[in-house]
């Protein structure tokens, strides 16, 4: 492990501490102190995390988006940023941390154990130095974060709905937010993700336009990105215009996220850069 990786290790520990604090505040009592400690832990983790990303960018002279390590670290970073935003805007969003924080911690762990070895595809240096690229990547990562949280909120909605329909109540009933809170969190995250995706794709088009078409020609990732965007466009439209709510709307968010995740994974497998 590199010495700079200590920053990432520190971030990992901070995220895990935040998770423990959150579990305690759900199990016992949500005191002001615990709430503050959770924010402090996430904030500290995010600080170390950001610093690590900046160090990596300076060291390689380009954005840290090539190696598995970098991509996972960047994704975890975007999720943490959006989770913090969501906590500020919706008071019941904290419970999502039970799922989000382990995912963040897992991604950071993957980043820690995988190598920082970077093999730069030839001819890509120019693209990597384009000012639109960091924006493109940043927007895309935040879009994934938004869709991930929308997915988790939808999952919580379905689980809570199942308890209410079955009339048999357990821990889910007790600790998960109400249907309307899950719905609101999911809706907000969907809109955020869609906005970010739109901006990200816009930046992507600028990049396509300016770079050598040889790298992009016939790339399925571009088609898939547009399909994803269209899908979410339809979902957003029906939610806003036709009032799609509840169970089916939640299932759409789940399907949408799984499709997006599949796109992302296949893109990584086939060695494309998103």
């Amino acid at each position: 492990m590199d010495r700079t990786d200590l920053l990432l290790l520190g971030a990992l520990i901070a995220y895990i501490l935040a998770l423990l604090q959150l579990a305690m505040s759900l199990w016992w009592d949500e005191t002001r102190l615990r709430r503050w400690l959770i924010l402090l832990s996430i904030g500290a983790g995010l600080g170390g995390h950001t610093f690590w990303l900046v160090r990596a960018a300076l060291r390689f002279g380009h954005l840290p988006i090539i190696s598995t390590q970098e991509v996972f670290a960047l994704l975890a970073w975007a999720i943490a940023v959006y989770y913090l935003i969501l906590r500020r805007t919706h008071r019941r969003a904290d419970v999502l941390g039970l799922f989000v924080l382990p995912i963040i911690a897992l991604f950071v762990l993957v980043a820690l154990v995988s190598t920082g070895f970077t093999l730069l595809p030839e001819g890509l240096e120019d693209v990597l130095r384009m000012p639109a690229l960091p924006l493109h990547i940043g927007f895309m990562m935040l879009a994934y974060a938004g869709f991930l949280l929308a997915f988790l909120a939808a999952l919580m909605y379905l689980l809570q709905e199942r308890e209410l329909k079955r009339k048999r109540f357990g821990a889910i009933y007790r600790y998960f937010p109400s249907l309307s809170a899950c719905e609101a969190i999911g809706h907000r995250s969907l809109l955020f993700g869609f906005l970010m995706l739109t901006l990200g794709i816009g930046m992507g088009i600028i990049l396509l336009h300016r770079s050598d078409p040889i790298f992009w020609r016939g790339d399925p990732i571009i088609v898939l990105a547009f399909v994803t965007w269209l899908f979410y466009l339809v979902v957003v439209h029906y939610r806003l215009a036709a009032g799609w709510r509840g169970r089916r709307a939640a299932m759409l968010l789940i399907v949408g996220f799984l499709a997006t995740a599949a796109t992302f994974v296949s893109a990584r497998l086939f060695g494309h850069i998103l």
Partner: protein, 434 residues
């Protein structure tokens, strides 16, 4: 010093007995002063609620005498034949009394486990006793400790978190669907005590808009006027279904007032916002298959009562966890009481050792001949040095054990036994010298 508690509660005595033993708030100061005379009873507190009457006292008397003294007090205060309540009286001493006070305050002894009022009632009783000047250092330690135990039970177990009545369960469910009840609309079909109670709970939880419909229009208008609501006819129900978020149905009859197709037709108009239906009528007046519709949640009276039972069951489970906390707190408290008592014992121990040493010196003085003041001083230093060196490990150990709360009962009783022997010998020597 002994802590004694004598009383009756909802389990040992019926209401006819409890009401006769109860103390009205205005007679408490006088009753407390009558109880605590400063010699037989040094500290006292009276807790009188609708479910219990308890007298808590600190006394130098023996356990039996103290209980007798409190029973006499009850006989004097209440002109009731004692045999009507004597059998219902329970008595707890020292450790058991402390445990009982902790359990009562933490609502582990309540009729509805975990109900929150009792803590306030104990606090009130404590305030009354403090005002009447009948609280000394023991109760000043015991009661605040009981409050913190109660708080710990409340925060560390889920004993008071769930609703345990049908109407409060309805509100809890509504919150799990809608989160905020403010701005939600409620439709009440029919009337009836439980339905009204549920409406009251919902209004208290922030519901602002209420529609009422009934088979007889006058009754609907009457209720509507009472709640400042809008009265509807039964025929208008399907239309208003689209406007309501929560429907409470409590109506008689032979045919369903809400059918599946009516509710299904209302859902698109509602833009699929969830609809919470509570049918507390028997026979059921909302077609049961309505509950299979998407985004519709239908609960009948059996469902609600089953939830209440489940919650009570959960409270009992949580109460078992709370008992562990209480046991632990009782041990800690008893140790801290012993720590209070150990100071005088240690002083007596050291004093007695010194007395023995100087006594031996005087006994052998005649063999020593005349002593210079320097020799006299040296001898005293010698004796004190021996006493100190002899006593130090024991005293340090006692202090440490008391500080850490690890003092074992047998150690303490050994010390007390030793104190008793000293006392007995002193009595003996004083009587033989007479």
């Amino acid at each position: 010093m002994t802590i004694v508690l004598v009383g009756v509660n909802h389990r040992t005595a019926p209401i006819e007995v409890r009401e006769r033993l109860a103390f009205a708030e205005e007679e408490l100061p006088q009753a407390l002063r009558q109880l605590v005379d400063g010699t037989t009873i040094t500290e006292g507190l009276i807790l009188s609620t609708c479910n219990r009457v308890e007298v808590l006292a600190v006394t130098p008397l023996s356990e039996r005498a103290a209980v007798e003294r409190i029973r006499a007090f009850l006989r004097e205060r209440h002109r009731v034949p004692p045999d009507t309540y004597e059998a219902a009286l329970y008595r707890y001493v020292d450790r058991d009394a402390v445990r009982h006070v902790f359990r009562v305050t933490a609502s582990l002894d309540s009729m509805v486990l975990g109900e929150p009022q009792i803590l306030g009632q104990v606090k009130e009783a404590y305030a009354q006793a403090v005002a009447a000047g009948t609280v000394g250092k023991t109760l000043h330690r015991l009661l605040p400790r009981a409050f913190s135990v109660a708080k710990r039970v409340r925060t560390e177990t889920a004993i008071g978190t769930e609703a345990v009545s049908v109407s409060s369960v309805a509100v809890e469910l509504a919150r799990k669907i809608f989160e905020d009840l403010e701005g939600r609309a409620v439709l009440l079909i029919g009337a009836g005590k439980m339905a009204e109670l549920t409406v009251r709970h919902l209004l208290a939880a922030g519901v602002r808009q209420l529609f009422i419909s009934n088979r007889t229009r006058e009754r609907a208008q009457q209720l509507a006027a009472h709640f400042a609501a809008e009265a509807l006819s039964l025929e208008a129900l399907p239309i208003h279904l689209a406007r309501a978020d929560i429907v409470i149905c409590s109506v008689g009859g032979t045919d369903y007032v809400l059918r599946r197709e009516q509710v299904a037709a209302a859902m698109p108009v509602r833009r699929n916002r969830p609809l919470f239906l509570i049918d507390i009528s028997v026979p059921r007046m909302i077609e049961p298959s309505v509950g299979h519709l998407e985004n519709v949640f239908l609960y009948d009276i059996d469902d609600l009562e089953q939830i209440v039972r489940g919650h009570l069951e959960h409270r009992r489970y949580e109460a078992a966890r709370a008992e562990v906390l209480v046991d632990q707190a009782v041990e800690e408290f008893m140790t801290s009481l012993r720590r209070l008592e150990i100071g005088p014992l240690i002083a007596a121990f050291r004093r007695r050792l010194e007395e023995i040493a100087y006594g031996e010196l005087e006994r052998h003085r005649r063999y020593l001949g005349p002593l210079t003041p320097e020799q006299e001083r040296a001898l005293r230093h010698l004796l004190e040095g021996i006493v100190n060196k002899f006593a130090h490990p024991a005293i340090a150990r006692l202090h440490q054990a008391a500080r850490e709360g690890t003092l074992r009962p047998e150690e303490l009783s050994l010390l007390e036994l030793w104190g008793d022997i000293v006392e007995a010998r002193e009595r003996q020597s004083s009587s033989s010298s007479e």
